[in-house]
């Protein structure tokens, strides 16, 4: 229930709730400003109550509200507690109103800016894969927080034959710092791919820029690949990123494509090897970030490589979209009810079976 209150100060929430504590109940309280924006919320146990009284500077709240939810043995307790709180708040004098209002306004502004950042970032990431005749491409991208440090890119290169370029990367870290570096590195890497002879040279050039200009304050794992769409020949270089996988149409077990060098931005030179693989009709290449394999269940178990392989076996012969969405769903379900702890990116490229 929701109770409007006029003011609050020096509030002894503990005393207000005490009469009800003896009864078995589950209650949660949230204190909002006049616009309904939360200033504090807590369950009604003594340490949390203490936190609430500390969270309201000077105990001030004017024009604000307390919301109380919960279930109680015998029913009606939620209302009773809420009314008691409201009465206590209404009786209290107003102090430090400006501080509480300012806190709420600041929090709301930051939230709005993060929401804008998230929209902008989603626009950066190629959500709709390019149309490549003879191939079926799908991707999944989900940032754990408002903004994330994962990114991927799929585009046709200008070079002869217009090979398909695939990039997947993870800025180690989360939140705004990672997102800013991601926004800086993504076009850098794309330009390097367009202006070098191959993926290893592109990563080397990107690394050199990051290291020499000292722009890099975080580590980046990055994989850059080039697919000759006429032949199915995939050539890639891997700077510390999760190994990609190939699921062959011939029914053999999925295989990791080994071969990697150090993280981008960490050392003056990468000296990363260039690895080759061929996609035969019906074969699928999978790229992902560690948000997949490092996902945790509520009991602390890791999703791990074996569940990834199991999902690939289960979806064998499926379209790229079916594989990606099955994997994304499985990782999400594995973590529930918790939200994803890390950014998750998955890209699948499947060469269509011969007609």
């Amino acid at each position: 229930m929701r109770v409007a209150v006029g003011s609050a100060a020096d509030l002894d929430l503990d005393a207000v709730v005490a009469p009800f504590r003896a009864v078995d109940h589950e209650l949660c309280l949230r204190i909002e400003d006049a616009d309904g924006y939360p200033i504090a919320s807590t369950s009604l146990d003594p340490p949390a109550l203490d936190a609430v009284t500390r969270a309201i500077p000077g105990g001030a709240l004017a024009g604000g509200r307390i919301r109380v939810w919960g279930s109680a043995a015998g029913g009606g307790l939620g209302t009773a507690v809420a009314e008691s709180l409201a009465a206590a708040l209404a009786a209290a004098p107003i102090t430090d109103l400006a501080i509480a209002a300012q806190h709420a306004a600041n929090a709301r502004r930051i939230e709005e800016e993060l929401a804008n950042g998230r929209r902008l970032q989603r626009a950066f990431v190629a959500l709709k894969p390019p149309d490549v005749p003879g191939y079926d491409i799908a991707s999944h991208y989900e940032a754990a927080r408002e903004v994330g440090g994962d990114f991927f890119d799929l585009f046709r290169q200008r070079h002869r034959g217009h090979p398909l370029s695939v990039v997947i990367a993870d800025v180690t870290g989360k939140g705004i710092a990672a997102a800013l570096l991601m926004a800086f590195v993504r076009p850098l890497l794309r330009a390097a791919i367009e202006h070098t002879t191959g993926p290893a040279a592109a990563l080397e050039r990107t690394n050199k820029i990051l290291v020499e200009e000292r722009r890099s304050f975080l580590f980046i794992t990055a994989l850059a690949g080039r697919l000759d769409v006429r032949t199915g020949h995939l050539c890639f270089a891997n700077a510390g990123h999760e190994l990609p996988l190939i699921v062959r149409a011939d029914g053999s077990p999925p295989t990791w494509l080994e071969g990697a060098g150090p993280l981008v931005g960490a050392f003056p030179r990468l000296d990363v090897p260039e690895i080759s693989a061929d996609l035969a009709p019906g074969d699928l290449a999978l790229f992902y970030t560690d948000g997949v394999t490092d996902a945790r269940s509520p009991s602390g178990e890791r999703f791990d490589e074996w569940r990834l392989l199991e999902t690939l076996e289960d979806t064998r012969g499926g379209t790229a979209h079916e594989v990606v969405s099955a994997l994304a769903d499985k990782v999400c379900a594995f973590q529930e009810p918790a939200p994803p702890a890390d950014d998750i990116t998955i890209v699948a490229i499947r060469r269509l079976p011969a007609a």
């Binding site: 993870d170 180690t172 870290g173 989360k174 939140g175 710092a177 570096l181 990051l210 290291v211 000292r214 890099s216 304050f217 975080l218 580590f219 794992t221 891997n238 510390g240 190994l243 990697a260 060098g261 150090p262 993280l263 931005g265 960490a266 050392f267 003056p268 990468l270 560690d290 490092d294 945790r296 602390g300 890791r302 702890a341 890390d342």
Partner: protein, 138 residues
């Protein structure tokens, strides 16, 4: 998810601290590890061996912890992991010897190799060879 740390001291010409990790090093506990090393440094540790023999798994945040640990042992304050940290090249190209790694399991060793972090550390087969090497270097 959970990781236990055990600290032991080896007395010698230069005292060596052994920090043994057991369990899984990931985003939930890497900051604790950094804090532990910060405390050890403040208490006077100047040679550190991180015994990885019982560490089953290391996530990418473990790499951040290892890098921060090297910084701490260089006497630099580690930067806020949320705010960014200096690139490894700022520490120079050669593996430093203030911090040595000992006995990584295959899965952890693969992560160190894949990410190139093995270039930063001298990695020993076990804590005993690490102690010998650290003592000889002193």
């Amino acid at each position: 998810m959970s990781m236990d740390t055990t600290v032991e001291q080896v007395e010698g010409a230069v005292p060596i601290t052994i920090l043994a990790l057991e369990g899984e090093l990931d985003a939930s506990n890497f900051q604790d590890l950094i804090d532990t090393v910060k405390r050890l440094y403040d208490e006077g540790t100047r040679k550190l061996i991180i015994d990885l023999a019982n560490l089953r798994f290391m996530a990418s945040s473990g790499l951040v912890a290892l890098h921060s640990i090297v910084q701490i042992m260089h006497g630099q304050p580690p930067l806020d992991p949320e705010g960014g940290w200096q690139a490894l090249h700022s520490l120079g190209g050669d593996a430093q010897t203030e911090v040595r790694l000992a006995g990584p399991q295959a899965s952890v060793e693969r992560v160190l190799q894949r990410t190139g972090l093995d270039r930063m550390f001298v990695v020993h087969a076990d804590r005993y060879t690490a102690i010998d090497a650290a003592s000889a270097a002193a």
